[in-house]
């Protein structure tokens, strides 16, 4: 029996969402080779141990957040393009939720509860900005989670979602007029870093 991972129960080591957004974890891209690779590789691996169901439950919570975020976006006054993007991405996130819930059950675990989130009323500009932050976080959360999975089959299945998060991240970055891929390597975030990003959006 696997206890669901409670994201608000994960300890945060003095990190804020702003500090996360600095993307310090992947500031290694400017140099190259083994030395540059080392910091984010060790970060991906040096994480608390957990069962595969625990790891999947963690990314499941992030998918809940993304799905609810795009559902919330439907209530905003968005332009045609942003609305279409929110709808398509939201549908994908909801499919990720269902797939991960099914995966956790197959592993004999219990899917994490769906927390309630609060999204401040937002303009299109702030919607796209938060979408970029959430999708980039999603990519790095998966990149941190995948090497922690014991089953190679489940790693591969999780990576099929990671790739979609990356494609979403590129799409929302382009919608904002920015670089679709800000670095040569997408870093890996550990659970406390992901929790720091999510925490401000949890309903108290």
């Amino acid at each position: 029996m696997t206890a669901p991972t409670r994201i608000d129960a994960v300890e945060i080591h003095g990190r804020t969402r702003a500090s996360f957004l600095v993307r310090g974890v992947i500031a290694v891209a400017a140099t190259s080779g083994a030395v540059a690779v080392a910091p984010w590789v060790s970060r991906a691996i040096a994480q608390a141990p957990g069962t595969d169901a625990d790891v999947l439950n963690f990314v499941l919570t992030l998918e809940y957040l993304e799905a609810d975020f795009y559902a919330h976006a439907a209530t905003l006054a968005l332009g045609t393009e942003a609305r279409a993007l929110a709808q398509e991405l939201g549908e994908h996130e909801e499919q990720h939720v269902e797939a991960l819930q099914a995966a956790v059950r197959r592993l004999g675990g219990r899917p994490a509860n769906r927390p309630e989130f609060v999204f401040p009323d937002r303009t299109e500009t702030s919607f796209v900005k938060l979408a970029v932050a959430l999708e980039d976080t999603g990519v790095s959360a998966y990149n941190g989670a995948i090497p922690r999975l014991a089953s190679r089959e489940i790693r591969a299945a999780a990576a099929t979602i990671a790739q979609i998060e990356a494609r979403h991240a590129a799409a929302v970055r382009l919608a904002r007029g920015g670089q679709p891929a800000p670095d040569a390597f997408d870093g890996a975030l550990d659970q406390s870093q992901v929790a720091a990003t999510i925490r401000p959006l949890l309903r108290r």
């Binding site: 991906a44 499919q95 797939a99 995966a103 592993l107 382009l174 040569a184």
Partner: protein, 203 residues
Amino acid sequence: MPESDASSRKRFLSMMGASGAAALSILATACGDDDEKQRAPAGTSAEAADIAIVNYALTLEFLEVELYRAAVDSGSFKGKELDLLKAIGEHEQQHIDALTAAVGKLGGRPVQRPKTKFPLDGRKTILKTAQRIENLGAAAYLGQVARIRDKDVLAAMIAIHSVEARHAAALNTLLGKDVTPNGAFARPASMRQVLPVAQLFIA
């Protein structure tokens, strides 16, 4: 032709399909009764397999870097589009450096940079080729995730995989195509599927 939602989700769950069995085999490993472990105690064959995988990725990255160099030199691009192609090309060079280092760490020898050939007649032709190679590359990395043994190499390939996906999405966007052509779950490609396509661009 985009895949339907239902078949795309089914694909994800089928990849998970062995997970019941996988959980059992993990248990067996914990009990010290794992056949595979005994077959390759020194890990030498696993390393050789990882070297082959990294060299395969390296070959694809060589193709990409050459394509972007040719694209930038072609004179078909300017402004933001040119900047984007340059930035992507620089990423590919960093991937080459990281993968070359990874082969060395595994005790192997990096493959040589192949001689390449690309159709370069105009913006659209070049973008289409780039779009094809980036989507192929993303699928190729994804296809190796379950095969890689070394955890450092896995983390490195994963960190590159999502960047290839971003590149693919950007090129799809430039060409007015769907950023996620296979729906909510990306489709992996095996070496056998990828290499014949890559071969088209090797002189």
